[in-house]
């Protein structure tokens, strides 16, 4: 995967281009489901959650939903965790997931737009300094 060696200005272009991928917007994606996969998360079963989410995505045939992985969300005691981001909404963090739960979340929140209260921890993002 040899790519072109970047220069400083090309770095900026990549930044702009990929910033769009990180925000949920019309055109790119309407919703992102982020499964938190650090060592802890995986030990707690995050891989199964990811598979279940991917399967749900496939079954739903939605084209505007992204299922992606990221790292540890920090709250190991409540792993596995996932974050659901819907366009125009603050992200919602779900905790103590099971395959069952993520399927329900996918159906009701990601596709249906309704937060699954029972499994949700909180909304919003963390405070960066």
């Amino acid at each position: 995967m040899e790519k072109k060696k970047l220069t400083v200005s090309e770095l900026k272009n990549i930044r702009q281009e990929f910033q769009e991928h990180l925000t949920v917007r019309a055109g790119v994606a309407r919703a992102r489901v982020i499964i938190h996969m650090g060592t802890c998360g995986i030990a707690a079963g995050a891989r199964e959650i990811l598979n279940a989410a991917l399967k749900a995505l496939e079954e739903s045939q939605s084209k505007d939903v992204i299922v992606t992985t990221s790292s540890c969300a920090g709250l190991c005691s409540s792993e596995p965790m996932a974050t659901v981001e819907i366009q125009h909404e603050p992200p919602v963090k779900y905790i103590n997931l099971t395959e069952e739960k993520i399927r329900k979340i996918f159906k009701e929140h990601v596709l249906g737009g309704k937060i699954v209260k029972e499994y949700a921890l909180a909304t919003g993002s963390e405070t960066t300094a």
């Binding site: 060592t39 802890c40 030990a43 707690a44 709250l75 190991c76 005691s77």
Partner: protein
């Protein structure tokens, strides 16, 4: 036990016969064959040009190497602080009792060996054990026999991935 000459040469070449990389070579061999046989030390010594005594020093200094084969399914109980506080010593005893071996030893059938590990970094899920590369969190005493049975079955069925 016969050593895999082709494999060891491949490993040595992969690391460019580099003296600095002997630890990496030994680690590669260990992770494939679960121990470092004497002949591997000799081969590396000859090929890379590091004295046997230095290599033996390395192989005995680091915890990551074993000079005798470890079990097909190595079980390590985390003895890190977090796990310790949450009862890891009792867990180790339980595994030792269930497997009928002391920590550091391998069962007669060569299936299991019992070790301690210093924190695979999953303290949030303490107490933690590792089985092969797998990390398992929140292990309770009651789960011990079930876990052993599960892996026993996997080995019997030949589905345990560490099997070479």
């Amino acid at each position: 036990m016969q050593i895999d000459k082709a494999k060891i040469n491949e490993i040595i070449l992969k690391h460019g016969k580099n003296k600095e990389d002997v630890i990496a070579m030994l680690l590669d061999y260990q992770s494939k064959f679960r121990y470092i046989p004497r002949d591997v030390i000799y081969t590396i010594s000859k090929e890379v040009g590091v004295p046997v005594v230095k290599l033996l020093g390395v192989a005995t200094f680091y915890r990551g190497f074993s000079l005798i084969p470890v079990g097909k399914c190595p079980i390590s109980v985390c003895m890190g602080t977090a796990c310790y506080v949450l009862g890891a010593p009792r867990l180790l005893e339980a595994f030792s009792r269930e497997l009928n071996i002391d920590p550091g030893k391998t069962t007669k059938d060569g299936n299991f060996s019992l070790h301690t590990i210093n924190c695979p970094g999953c303290c949030g899920l303490a107490p933690v054990i590792t089985v092969g590369d797998e990390v398992i969190g929140k292990v309770t005493l009651a789960k011990v026999p079930r876990l052993i049975e599960k892996y026993h079955k996997l080995i019997e069925k030949g589905e345990w991935k560490k099997e070479e």
